[in-house]
Every structure is written in C-alpha cells, then in structure tokens.
C-alpha cells in the first residue's frame, strides 16, 4: 500500500509534551544529516558540572519548530489584516510561509559542529576577519544533503519550495523575500530558539533558572505596523506580555551566569578546543562545500569521544577523562570598566607563565537597537515603545557582559593563589 503523505506523527518532548510532525517533516528528520543531531549534545561537557545536561540538538530542533509554529500561529491570528496589508500576504501565502518557518526552525542547527558551540571557534575562515558560522553549514547541508527530502516530497507540490528558500531564511539571504519578516522568530531577541533552549536546558540541567511564562509570551506576540522611524513591520508584543518578556531576558541572564558561563564548564570548553585542534586535520574543520561538507558531517560527539577514549586526543583528552580541568584563578566583574581591564592586565602579568588560558564572555543580556522588542501599548492612543524603554528591569540589563576568566593548571593553583594574594587580588 502506498504511503499516506497526509499522515501525522507525534514525538514525545520533555518540555512541550507531544510535538506533531507531518510525513514531509518526518522524511527530513529521518535523513542521516538530521539524525546526526542525536549525536551532538546541546551543552557540550556541561554534564561534568550538572550531570543531567545530556540532551542533544535533536530534541532542541524539534522544540524550536514547535515553538516557532506557536508564535507564527499567534501572530497570524492576531495580525492577519496587518500582514495582508503591509506584506501583501494572502491566506494561501500565510499557509505557505508557516511551513517555511517550520522547516527553517527544524533545520536551523543542522550545521552544528561536535559539542555545539564549544568547538565553533575551529570553523575555518571565510573571508578577511570573518569566519564561517554553524548557520553557513546548516544552509550548505540544506542545499545539498537535505535538498531531495525538501524538494521531492509529494506535499511540496502545494508549496513548491526549493531547498534554497529554507536556507535563505536561516542565513538571512535575499531569496527569503518578504518571509525575511519571520526571521525574528528564528534568530532574534525573542526567537523560538531562545525560548526553547532556555526551558530545555533548565529542565535537563535541573536548575530553577531559565523559566518564564511561554504561554503568556505566545499569546501576546503580534506583528507591529510601521511607525515612527520604522519603515517596516516588526514582530513585537502587546503590553500584557511585558512581564513575560522581562522574564525571558532574566532567564537568559541567570542561565548564562549560572550555567553557560560557569567557570568549570568554560574550562571544559578550553580542553575540548585543544582536543579538536589535535584531532582535526590542520586543526580546523573543513569548509562547508563539496567533499569538505561531507567530511564535516562525519564529525559528531561519538567520533570525538571515541578518539578521546582510545587515547588519541592527547593531554586534553586525558584531562576530560580524568576530570582534571584547569582551575579558575581570577575573574573580572561581569561588565568590565576601563579600570577592570587595567587590573586584568596587571594580574595576567603577575601570573606570567602560570596562566594557561583566558576566556572572555561576549554576550549582552539584552540589546537595544533595531531588534529591541517593540511593545504595543493601547492606553488612550496606540503607541509603540521598545522593551528597553518600557521596562526598568530590562534597561538595567543592557550592558555587555565581557567578563574575563583566567585559568591555571590544577597542580599550580596554590602557587598562583600565593602570587596573587600578595597584593590582595580578587580570586576564586
């Protein structure tokens, strides 16, 4: 009997309950390039600090697709007329782009390197000072390995997608056309990716941080008409969702400070990078084209772990096995002032060759500017204000976290502490 292309399937998700997929999406999920995500951990070696952090990019990708769909449906139900007027959508066009957003959300992380962001620094150079990012690999995989599954499924007769349409929405290509409006749901300050990873990481890590009211946020998300200096429509929220949006930003702040930039977790990022430098040809991942892409897809956590387990990953591989990581000896404030930078320089000089690694955070909890979340207030006359202006809580969170952490070898920690204590430096 022929396969029913309209059949629906459900996948159990620990965060969202049942996630529904159709036969087309199932076909894509079954491709080896997507199944590889089962072998890429979401949070690298975080389990060496928080043992529950064993989840993978596979379940996160399904969660992002699910969350992006909820956001999309909410926006369309509340802002259908605006979308029709400003972006010339028809009902059919909205149905088509719903599918496009689902596929882009599902596949946005398909180009991750082993252990996710931890090994990203070893992606090769593209041009000048610019390096390839995992999104470039995602787009290249979609255009090659996943092209058949996207373009040839019978359900695609209804939409006529080319793999390039999905890739363009992920990488921000001009081919996305008006669908570029939906990029805020894939890659923005209130995107489905962020909403899913905060809830999922919090769940698996087992911390109370990272929680926010997803349902409230979804119910308040809307399209906002052009106005003021903005000549374009934007994804924003109604005033009623203000506190849920604040909670999202705070969740990110707490997860970053308590989990993602945990001093020991960061130490294992350093060891992993050294391992990868040793086991990759030329110390870099191949470029995302031709045979390079095929070779890249052969890299996953299992392969790296196998090399570590077989003793072919050198000193840093042994350190991971033995949980003998570098020790943090000094850190700056989360937001460095000029004085902090001077002090950091002084501490580094004092540590001399005891210093084995330095890591610097490069995140802001929230950024004002073009992607500041617009909030629509309807008190008296409709007025759009950025979240950073609406909320005093958010206004206090816009500085860039450029905290620096300094590390020494575990066997020389006391020696380093003695050196720094002489002048009373802040230590850990």
């Amino acid at each position: 009997m022929a396969k029913d292309p309209h059949r629906k399937y459900e996948i159990r998700c620990p965060v969202h309950g049942f996630i529904q997929i159709d036969d087309w999406e199932r076909e894509i999920i079954e491709q080896p390039a997507f199944q590889r995500l089962r072998r890429i951990r979401q949070l690298a070696w975080t389990d060496l600090v928080y043992p529950g952090a064993m989840h993978t990019r596979f379940e996160h990708s399904l969660g992002v697709m699910h969350t992006a769909t909820l956001l999309y449906d909410s926006i369309v139900s509340k802002s259908r007329d605006l979308l029709k007027q400003e972006l010339a959508y028809s009902d059919e066009g909205l149905g088509r782009d719903r599918k496009l957003v689902r596929l882009a959300a599902l596949l946005h992380d398909v180009g991750h390197a082993p252990f996710s962001h931890s090994s990203e620094e070893l992606l090769p150079r593209r041009t000048g000072a610019l390096k390839f990012a995992h999104e470039d690999y995602s787009a290249a995989i979609i255009r090659s390995e996943l092209r058949g599954a996207i373009e040839e499924h019978p359900l695609n007769a209804n939409t006529g997608f080319r793999a390039n349409d999905v890739a363009a929405l992920i990488e921000g290509g001009a081919a996305a056309g008006r669908a570029v409006f939906w990029r805020d749901l894939i890659n923005g300050q209130m995107d489905a990716d962020r909403m899913d990873y905060l809830l999922r990481d919090s769940h698996h890590v087992g911390v109370g941080y990272g929680k926010f009211d997803l349902q409230r946020l979804i119910s308040s998300v809307i399209a906002i008409a052009p106005g003021g200096k903005d000549d374009h429509s934007r994804v924003g929220i109604e005033e009623g969702g203000l506190h849920a949006a604040e909670a999202l930003v705070l969740a990110r702040y707490f997860m970053f400070t308590q989990v993602y930039f945990h001093k020991t977790r960061v130490a294992y990022d350093i060891h992993l990078r050294e391992v990868m430098k040793q086991i990759l040809a030329g110390g870099r991942f191949p470029k995302p084209s031709g045979t390079g892409l095929k070779e890249f897809l052969r890299w996953d956590d299992w392969r790296v772990m196998g090399l570590i387990a077989s003793g072919r990953a050198g000193e840093h591989g042994r350190r991971i096995i033995e949980r003998n990581h570098y020790r943090e000896i000094y850190h700056t404030h989360e937001v460095c002032t000029e004085k902090d930078l001077r002090e950091l320089k002084r501490v580094k000089a004092k540590l001399g060759n005891l210093l084995v690694a330095e890591e610097t955070a490069t995140k802001s909890w929230y950024k004002s500017g073009s992607d500041d979340i617009p909030v629509l207030s309807k008190v008296r006359t409709p007025r759009v204000q950025p979240l950073s202006e609406y909320s005093k809580v958010i206004a206090g969170m816009m500085e860039k976290n450029n905290q620096a952490l300094l590390y020494v070898d575990s066997t020389r920690r006391e020696e380093a502490e003695r050196k720094l204590k002489r002048k009373g430096n802040q230590q850990r």
Binding site: E86, L87, A88, G128, A129, L130, K131, A133, E135, E171, G172, G173, A174, A176, G177, R178, V180, F181, R183, D184, N187, G188, P226, G227, G228, K229, D230, D231, H232, S233, R234, V335, C336, T337, E338, L341, T360, T362, K363, S364, K367, S368, G369, S370, D371, P382, R383, V384, Q385, P386, S388, E389, M398, E399, K400, N402
Partner: protein, 189 residues
C-alpha cells in the same frame, strides 16, 4: 579583549565622533558599509532582516564602547516610535587608543562612509544597505541583474517603499559606483 574587538570599539567611537549624534541604525549600517564597500576587516557577520543587514555584535560593541566611556547614548521618542542618539563621551580618546594603528589605517574609510551616508535618515540607510546586500549576493553568485530586477528584489524585502523611491536609491548608489551586479554599462566599468 581581542584585537578585533578593540578595533571594532575604536571604529564605533571614530564613526560617532565624525558625525554626532548618530543613531544606532546609522552605526549598524555604517559598520556594514565599512566592511562591505571599503573592505575594512571588522569581522562582523551581517545577515538580512526586514530592517536591513544586521549583526547583533554591533549592538554588543556599542554597549561595550559605552561601558568604557567612549560613547554615550540616549533614547529619543517620536510620535508612535522611538530612536537612539549616540554621542562621543569623555573617554573617546582612550577607547580609540585601544586600536590606534587600526584607526590610523582605516581613518580615511571611516571618513568616507560618514561623508557618503551621514546625512541619510535611518529608513533610507536601511533601504540603501538592503540594496547593497541584495546586490552583493547577486555579484557573489556571479549573476547579473537589471535595475528593475534589483528594485523588485529589494521591494519584496521592503514592500513599504514605493518602486520609484527604491529606483532612486539604486540610481544614487549606481551613480557612486557602489553596485556590482547591474547589467547596465556605466562609467564605473
């Protein structure tokens, strides 16, 4: 802080100093123009949104430059909307000193970008940078297009602009020899 980060902060301060106050959109788009039109190696990764080419790291760098006292910003509310004004602050010189060689080398490019685009409002800068983005994507794929086709592609992304207005901005950029994918022959080639 890495060399490239210091170069970015210094560049942002230098941009703002040359044309104060600048909006955040203006800083974002001028960084895009610097990297794309003048090949200044800032290492940003611009991708396309409905508000034009954008890299969230520019905003992070604006915040960092502000934390170091190189610039200061304030919000300006308009009827039905909002914007930002960034001006040099008392430590602008010391932030530029973080990458003095870089600023010396690329100072003429920074001045060029400010001269070329400093008088445009944020909506125009978003449109101009979107035109350049679409143009470069075609040029990179070694594809040629007519002015009409380029205008059509840009209008798909920014449907709020009238066709004639998009055309006028394409003509401006073409007149300055800043586009690469057009089929038309011009004095630039």
């Amino acid at each position: 802080m890495s060399d490239i980060q210091m170069a970015r902060l210094a560049t942002i301060v230098a941009l703002v100093e040359r044309h104060p106050p600048l909006g955040r959109t203006a800083v974002m788009k001028m960084c895009y123009f610097l990297q794309t039109l003048r090949n200044v190696p800032l290492g940003y990764r611009f991708t396309l949104y409905s508000y034009g080419p954008f890299d969230v790291r520019v905003l992070s760098d604006i915040s960092a430059a502000e934390a170091l006292g190189g610039i200061e910003s304030k919000t300006v509310l308009y009827s039905g909307g909002y914007g930002y004004e960034i001006s040099p602050a008392n430590k602008s010189r010391s932030v530029k000193a973080l990458a003095a060689d870089f600023i010396k080398r690329y100072g003429p490019d920074i001045s060029w970008v400010v001269d070329q685009f400093g008088e445009f409002g944020s909506a125009d800068l978003e449109l101009l940078s979107t035109i350049v983005y679409v143009d470069r994507e075609y040029a990179q794929a070694r594809r040629r297009q007519t002015t009409d086709a380029l205008a059509e592609n840009v209008q798909e992304i920014k449907p709020h602009f009238k066709g004639a207005y998009v055309q006028s901005k394409i003509e401006y950029l073409e007149g300055e020899c800043l586009l690469r994918s057009l089929r038309t022959t011009s004095a630039c080639r």
